[in-house]
Symmetry: C2
Subunit: 107 residues, 2 copies
DNA sequence: ACAATACTTCCACTAACATAGAATCATGGA
DNA sequence: TCCATGATTCTATGTTAGTGGAAGTATTGT
């Protein structure tokens, strides 16, 4: 995973509303949640919500699935897993920090 | 770990120069590295470097140690560990993602 | 005390981000 | 076809972040 990609992923999550959206979608699992429902749960205006969903989608952290006139967004666990692996390997590996290296959350 | 803290930590790392600084310091271990040396390695102007070091320090990701007229900055592994734990527990926990939950990089 | 070195703060500028009302697009039902 | 609904895009506005030259602070050696 490239350093530039990592920065984009971190930037995507480094915002209150977006982190909240992502955490919400993680709980929902692959089924995801409609834009309207997300907006309702988090009390975010449609335009603002759309903006943040676009950001998360662009980063690859969530993915859209159209169903009729509803759009379901779901967390992309693979991307999150890659990010966590990078962070663990590159940001937490030193003499003082080499006890347990084997991490992995989603296989 | 609070959600607001997490956003601050992610924001601190979501920048090319800062991620590079942190990764560099992680490799150096507790001994850390002087500001001058960091600037030399990454080719960053003094004022810019100082700005980013301040940001990382404010987030709690690095810590300063004065030695004579040199200031050594070292990665704060505890903070990084807490962040990784939060991310694993809150951003990667769903039906489709509950295989191995036990992660931890620095004890 | 003076000069040199190591960093930081100040400042001004530019670019990027966040927000939301209004307009628009797309889908499904009457 | 027309309308209602779900979601996005357009547009405007305010805020925050990143950059680096110049000036300031702190420490060491002479």
């Amino acid at each position: 995973m490239e350093s530039k990609t990592v920065v984009n992923l971190l930037a995507a999550l480094a915002q209150d509303t977006r982190l909240a959206i992502f955490r919400l979608l993680v709980v929902q699992g692959p089924a995801g949640m409609t834009v309207g429902k997300i907006g309702e749960m988090l009390a975010v205006a449609p335009a603002t919500l759309s903006f943040h969903l676009k950001e998360l989608n662009r980063a690859g952290l969530i993915q859209a699935r159209q169903e009729g006139r509803f759009i379901h967004y779901a967390a992309n666990f693979d991307t999150m897993n890659d990010l966590l692996r990078f962070m663990t390997e590159n940001c937490c590996t030193a003499a003082s920090c080499a006890t347990e290296q084997e991490n992995s959350c989603c296989g």
